[in-house]
């Protein structure tokens, strides 16, 4: 395992190196530059533009800049943004990351959970009404043009029904008089989710040691509900629950839209793998053992079909920027995707490179995580 990991890491570093190189030169090849926007201002003479060029480092030959970039990249310095000059690219990414991560991890999670459940059921009841209905609706939503779906949902839930807050990610009226920033809260929410995950995993491990099925169940439910109650009460006691709730309320619509749009992907993967698994002999064996249908489906079939879905899930997390471009624009959610769009329209090359490189790193890490997860989920795999 360790050997595999080290090998994989070396591989990732090489891939990353090539990737960064390609991204850098690609961006270099972009016509025009950030300074072109001053071309629209007749007050700024060519000399002043030259001056600015020097400040942005355009005057050096591109090869020097490349080597310099690579050198900085080694210490995780992605340079200085143009459009936010002289802010560091890393600090811009870090500012926007929690928002994007929180939105997309939640919606990916919801969509996968939804897809997993539906896919499982529709495969189990293949050809029945539930199967056909879910497949049909899934594919139809999957092929709706995302901006239209977003606008439609905004119209329906925000304008016509008026039940969900529109746009933005917080309500300024609520937030204008507090001392902390939304960024703090996002980080705390993420931390909370992380703690929740740890607790969940620990309980899973502990419950394995228990003797009877009932005891396992009780421990699981009690501790899960307990953790939820505890974290909610901590939020309430710290007086920030209302602010957290505000963020969550604003998230409902984008998460709902994204889920609606993309659940079909995971559902179909789940359904197909599940159909494969169902044909395996151990499913028949499990049935022959007299296990209830639900146990056979969830414990034996779905557990095995989970593997490819899990990989998909982890890898899809890596592509949040691409997905974010449209979603974040439609829902006024200032995250990484939106930053990418702005950087592109402004020709902020360092930020563009930074965002792409960051996504690359993110994807590669996701791949690594997927590999590790796979080894955990499938005992047959030993690297």
């Amino acid at each position: 395992m360790l050997r595999f990991l080290s090998k994989r890491v070396v591989q990732i570093v090489i891939l990353l190196f090539i990737y960064v190189t390609i991204v850098f030169w690609l961006m270099e090849a972009l016509p025009g530059s950030f300074l072109d926007k001053y071309l629209m201002n007749p007050k700024i003479t060519p000399e002043i533009r030259e001056n600015l060029k020097r400040q942005f480092g355009f005057d050096k030959p591109v090869l020097t800049r490349y080597l310099y970039y690579m050198k900085n990249f080694l210490v995780l310095d992605l340079g200085v943004s143009f459009s936010y000059f002289p802010k560091k690219v890393t600090s811009i990414i870090f500012e926007r990351l929690p928002r994007t991560v929180f939105l997309f991890v939640t919606s990916t999670l919801v969509s996968y959970a939804f897809g997993y459940t539906l896919g499982k059921r529709s495969a189990w009841r293949r050809g029945k009404v539930i199967d056909q209905v879910t497949t049909f609706t899934g594919i139809v939503f999957w092929t709706i043009f995302l901006p239209l779906l977003a606008i439609f949902n905004i119209w329906l839930f925000g304008v016509i029904l008026g039940i969900l807050p529109l746009n933005q990610f917080i309500d300024p009226n609520l937030w204008r008089n507090v001392s902390f920033s939304a960024q703090d809260l996002f980080l705390k929410l993420l931390l909370n989710a992380f703690i929740f995950l740890i607790v969940f995993l620990t309980i899973m491990i502990i419950s394995r040691r228990l003797k009877t099925i009932n005891a396992k169940r009780i421990l699981l439910y009690v501790s899960l509900i307990g953790t939820i109650i505890i974290s909610i009460s901590i939020w309430i006691l710290s007086g920030r629950a209302i602010y957290a709730w505000d963020i969550i309320k604003h998230m409902v619509l984008p998460v709902f839209t994204l889920t609606l749009y993309s659940f079909a992907g995971s559902m179909l993967v789940m359904r197909d793998t599940m159909l494969d698994v169902i044909r395996e002999d151990y499913i028949t064996t499990a049935k022959a053992k007299g296990l209830p249908d639900k146990v056979v489906r969830d414990k034996h079939a779905a557990r095995n079909a989970l593997l490819p879905l899990m990989t998909n899930f982890v890898i899809s997390l890596g592509f949040t920027i691409s997905g974010g471009i449209i979603t974040e624009t439609m829902f006024s959610w200032p995250g990484l995707g939106r930053a990418y769009l702005e950087a592109l329209s402004q020709q902020d090359t360092p930020l563009l490179i930074g965002l792409l490189v960051f996504t690359g790193v993110f994807v590669l890490i996701a791949h690594l995580v997927a590999d590790i997860l796979y080894a955990f989920l499938d005992p047959r795999i030993r690297y």
Binding site: D36, T45, L52, V80, F85, E95, P172, R176, E328
Partner: protein
Amino acid sequence: MKKVFAVLMLVVAVFVFAQTVNWAFLQEPISLNIWDYLGPNATVWTGYVMGPRIAGLYSYSDVRFDWIPALAADLPDLEQVGNEWVYTVKLRTDVTWSDGTKFSADDVVWTMNTVRKLIVDYGLGGNWASYVDPDYFVKAEKIDDFTVKIYFKEPSLAKANFGTLMMPILQKKYWEPKVEAALKTGNPLQTIYNYDVSDEPILGAFLLKKWEKGAFIEVNARKDYFDTGSVLTLYKNGAVSIKNPNTGFEWSGYGEPKGEKQLELVTGPYVDSIIYRMYLNRAAAITALINGDVSFIFNPLGLQKGEADQLAKVANVKLISNSVNGFRYMCFNMRRFPMNIKEFRQAIAALIDREFLTSRVLGGQAFPQYGVVPSGNVFWYNPNVEKLSPGYGMSSGDRRKLAIDLLKQAGFKWVVEPKIEGNNVVRQGRGLIAPNGQRIDQIELLAPGAGYDPMRATIALYVERWANEIGIPIKANLVDFNLIVQRVFDEPFNFDIYMLGWSLGYYPDHVADFFHSKRAGVGDFNAAGYNNPEFDKLADQFLAASDIDKARELSFKLQEILAQDLPYVVIFDTPVTEAFRTDQIIFPYEKTLSGLQYVNGAPTLVKAAK
């Protein structure tokens, strides 16, 4: 229990009595650091928030854009000392910074000299250059606490009055140590840009309260704003007067302050705070306006047709439309054949039916524009240029005939000559042959794609069709904006015709920038390669003028020359349409060039409705 009740009452009180306006932004400002803002990072959004923070010695009056004193107590005195020209400015004595410090000549002198030094020694770039041109501005000198002398190499309206004398003044006490410290670092400019300025003392009316990144910026009104309560009166006869009953400051100029008043404004601020909310797309902002979450949307492009249509139906929302200080144009590469032939350019100009395009195809979203100074800039606009434009007021058939005649005049021939009857093209022209017998193959018209600007894209396609009808082989090539910029400005003039737009300042010195033959180098603004010695001479005179009336006369002449020579075919300009909620806010006036956002939403004048 009592405590809780008290807090509750307080909350209620805040809601009831504190007057807050919510304004929608479509992009987030970058930084409130003025060095950064006027340096490498000028975005219009930053400008909207910066506007209410800063003040200069002089500013424009509302609506009419008269040049009036702000921090100065009177118009400057100009005198020649040796080969330098000295502007003596008396400062107002009733101005305080937001930290309570008195505003004095030290601040003015320090700001002006420091900026010049940073520009000359460290290459401070960007918009600072429009305030301080080291070729003109020499130095500023303190005479006493409230008098400064400002030295220029030449007198120039553009560089002095509309330049250095309008620059924002920074507090010396706050900035001097910071700048000194920065100069000791390896990269002083970056250090200066990077300073966090949330505690910066300002002269303007609104202080930053909270900036929640990505969501909103809240600013609070200053109680001790120097201009609060002052009455600005514009008279029909052109006179302007400012009176402040609170501090007793009084000034008047441009004639006798009497007769019919055009406008009278009492400066606020009337609201306690302004919240700028960030919406990342227009639809979101408009929905917010409809819902009443915001009262006004900042949008430099104005409302689109559909948005305006929609908002017109909403109760309590008022639409206002103002012309914009800018124009969209077609530029010919006059270094190339046949664009260097005047009749050819005129023929194309004749074909373009601006009225049809703007009122019908663009559905009134744009209005025709004929000259290089927008008609909305009333003072500088020469109304004669319309009549000088080829084909003005003609029917579509006559336009075509005129174009054909013009081409024939210049000696062009066709393989198949176009034939026009009435308004219809009976026979399309084919195979245009130049006077020297050379066949003209294809002329490329670069225009931004529909994604960037559907109007220009559409017009480019119409121009293509109209030109093709009479046999001019124009091919519209709708490409990325950057690609046009690259081909026009970076590569040496690798284009035939392109279509772009300008947005302009109030003082029309751009005419000289765009067409003076010494600005025809690579990367400079005379991309057309226009070279007319007569024009150059007039332009030089215009730039050097220190008298506004003289400058106006020269500017009119320049406009007329250009309307006939046509290095640019100016096609249209868009009005900026804005909407605000009448049940939430009241603006002091609604008619103003480039709309209310051009005056940053008039934050010191806006009132909450009820």
